[in-house]
Symmetry: C2
Subunit: 462 residues, 2 copies
């Protein structure tokens, strides 16, 4: 924690004498208390009451502070009961951590003092103890829904995954870049952009109301900025919000979502990129599983019970198995053949040269035994001009890769970048665009590859 | 690095036999090579040429890959020279790391093979070796300016500081939250908001062109969302982009900048908040100083040479001294007295009840011996309604704190939140706003405090 919180600031200002040590109860988070085996002296726990059970001889409370799904059991003398000590109230409990006789928990807090910091009107409070409400119900109470298990688990998992992504890239020597959110470029020409303006008023004809003198949009990708950075840093990444103004009500399209994007210079083959995707996936998965096993279990049990889960150990093993079984690599051409031979009928007929649909991706994952699958070498005409030509006609492909995972389909994608100037030039000429390549000859162009991962799709959906 | 990159994917697919080990030169980043004392076997370094010096007996190169300010010296036989081996070209050098006889470096790379991966037309390349250009010049070449020392140092420092901020909060038990960027709320009523629209076209009268059915803005602060989260997690933080549509050309106001914001529940006093600010400042400062000493030195020497810096050790000591001398705490009322007694004339006359201007902040920092200073307890009427009333009239103040630092002035601020419902109600009634408090009685309101830090001001300025 934050070291000696008890420092008297007045003393610090007026003298250089060491600050006297106050004997104060150590504050523990609930997750720390639950993991503690033995703690000498008094501790203090602060949180919200999840249950109150008053018996003749003893008062039982459960306290949750958001640090874990599990609550801490408090055992107190019934004299400590108070009319404000209700479900939802905010309390501070001081006492001793003792071994619990209950088989469901290691320790419990034997309370010496309970202070109600903030009372809660249980009649007005929209959630009740031990009641599972649908997400549509919780959505009406955005200021309170984080107190539900589902939302707090989701946020803990997301927090751990975010931290794991940052540390993965940091540990592997990547420079983190905050690419601009407001931008005048339109990365892939998607067309579905949000416009940024200073004023809501109807514009007079001829009036220049652009704050930045040019039309400004919300970024759809930091890729162009990262590609520039990759001309000075061999490995760069960004992890920020991206925006699409697609008026889609599907679960797979969000107006605002977070995306991990990485660019690596001196990338020689798709294998370099696949390796990064694989390492990132494994690292983040195993960190989340080790830090939030109960939160993940909650989702497996109640939110998306796609797989039969018998106990936590088995479920963790299943996820780790998924993470460790990465590695099936199927060329797009072979994938289409597999789909054509499939005994099932697809809404979209699989055909070489067409995009893989989610139904196709899910079939491929199933075909490989419900493990993550890399599909490589997509048709040249399907992919943006900057992907590297495999020069493998007649079935002309580029060095691109997508990672498909069970349940979701496409999780992330990447490609080798075309570094050969004449390939870029001739391809751009087909689109009638040549201008912006004029400076390329001074770039010291190198092989380059990318990884990008739409985390919104991965864990942001409710 | 990414483990065994050499795994043959085909083999992985077709058999479970262990992958044969290729004897490949280990790829080292320049910073790793520079720190290595001895490396057995061949290594490979990839990067951009910073200088070429050809002598009769020997060819000297300096290679930079963005991992450090310092470049790696390469020593090669003149026969390895190539006409494409110029300043700015991208190369891959293979060889052995040997002890250098030069006093400026520990090691050098004795090249066995040099491959020019991407040539660079030195005539077209806008930067020359050993030439220091003003930032206004570099700004014309956004795709190349990261190759300059100033920009690459800036980005390395920012990357390290970003990582340090994330790990500081993570290590102290905070849950990271991605607060929304597109929002319909206007946190502090600042009024200077960017509007988000889907279309640039002139709106027909009566037409509802709102993508989200309501007017949508870019966030000015994640505070309101974090305050809600702090009702379920005792410690939360966010570190994301925030936006102000202020048409200001000053160096202190950016349209888009990054801000660290944290909310803590169960905060009992300003000291809790000051402690977090202090710990955050010290942690980030010492991590940046230990990871990027040369980058910081570059800025001290050439970009903002405010302090006389004799050598790196001394400069690091100065910064550490600054970080460790945090702790002067001055009440606002006393600060105004200090300013009134100041021998200098201010553009803005200091007076109780008025905001501190940058000139005042800088004087206070100087007055305290050019060390960081906390100013606490600001006038009630200066601050937003949610800050906690100190009930200390006639000079009525709230429990707010600002951290002022040498060179910048205000670095971050925070406050205790008013948790007493009747205080909030009576204050809001003065503004004629009561509606949104109707649910407060079910909140289980607790003491709460915040820290926010505008990193744009701190290190984002050029």
């Amino acid at each position: 924690m934050f070291g000696a919180r008890c420092l008297l600031l007045a003393l610090r200002r007026c003298s250089s004498a060491p600050c006297p040590k106050h004997k104060q109860a150590a504050r523990l988070r609930v997750c720390e208390a639950l993991e503690a085996q033995e703690v000498a002296g008094d501790i203090k726990v602060q949180g919200w009451v999840r249950s109150v059970r008053s018996q003749k001889q003893v008062l039982f409370l459960h306290i949750n502070d958001g640090s874990s799904l599990e609550s801490l059991q408090v055992v107190a003398d019934p004299t400590l009961e108070h009319r404000d000590l209700t479900f939802g109230s905010a309390v501070e409990v001081q006492g001793k951590l003792v071994k619990s006789l209950h088989r469901m928990q290691n320790v419990e807090l034997k309370a010496e003092n309970i202070r109600v910091v903030g009372p809660c009107d249980t009649l007005m409070f929209p959630f009740k103890p031990r009641e599972r409400q649908p997400l549509e119900y919780s959505r009406q109470f955005p200021h309170l829904r984080c107190r539900t298990n589902t939302l707090s688990s989701l946020l803990r998992v997301r927090s751990e995954a975010t931290a794991a992504i940052h540390s993965f890239f940091k540990d592997n020597g990547y420079v983190h870049v905050h690419t601009p959110i407001i931008t005048s470029n339109d990365c892939e020409g998607a067309g579905e952009l949000f416009h940024v303006r200073t004023s809501n008023k109807v514009q007079e004809p001829g009036e220049n109301s652009h704050f930045f003198n040019v039309p400004a949009f919300l970024t759809v990708s930091g890729q162009l900025h990262l590609e520039v950075m990759a001309g000075a840093f061999t490995q760069v990444f960004t992890f920020g919000p991206t925006f699409r103004a697609e008026n889609s009500q599907s679960r797979r399209h969000l107006a605002e979502f977070y995306m991990v994007e990485a660019e690596m210079s001196f990338t020689e083959s798709l294998q370099d990129i696949i390796q990064v995707m694989e390492d990132l996936f494994k690292t983040v998965t195993s960190i989340v599983l080790s830090k939030c096993p109960q939160d993940v279990e909650l989702f497996h049990k109640y939110i998306s019970p796609a797989q039969k889960v018998i106990n936590m150990r088995e479920q963790t093993a299943t996820c780790l198995y998924l993470a460790n079984s990465l590695g099936s690599v199927i060329p797009y051409t072979e994938a289409v053949e597999i789909l054509k031979r499939a005994p099932q009928t697809f809404t979209f007929q699989p055909k070489w040269g067409r995009d893989l649909q989610t139904e196709h991706e899910k079939y491929l994952v199933k075909h490989c035994g419900e493990v993550p699958v890399f599909v490589v070498n997509y048709p040249y005409d399907l992919k943006p001009f900057y992907m590297r030509d495999n020069e493998d006609g007649p079935q002309h492909t580029v060095a691109a890769v997508d990672l498909l995972v069970p349940g979701t389909g496409e999780l992330c994608g990447g490609s080798l970048r075309e570094e050969r100037l004449h390939f870029l030039q001739s391809r751009l000429e087909r689109y009638g665009e040549t201008l912006w390549l004029i400076t390329s000859s001074s770039l010291g162009t190198v092989w380059q590859g990318s990884v990008s991962e739409a985390t919104g799709v991965w864990w942001g959906k409710e």
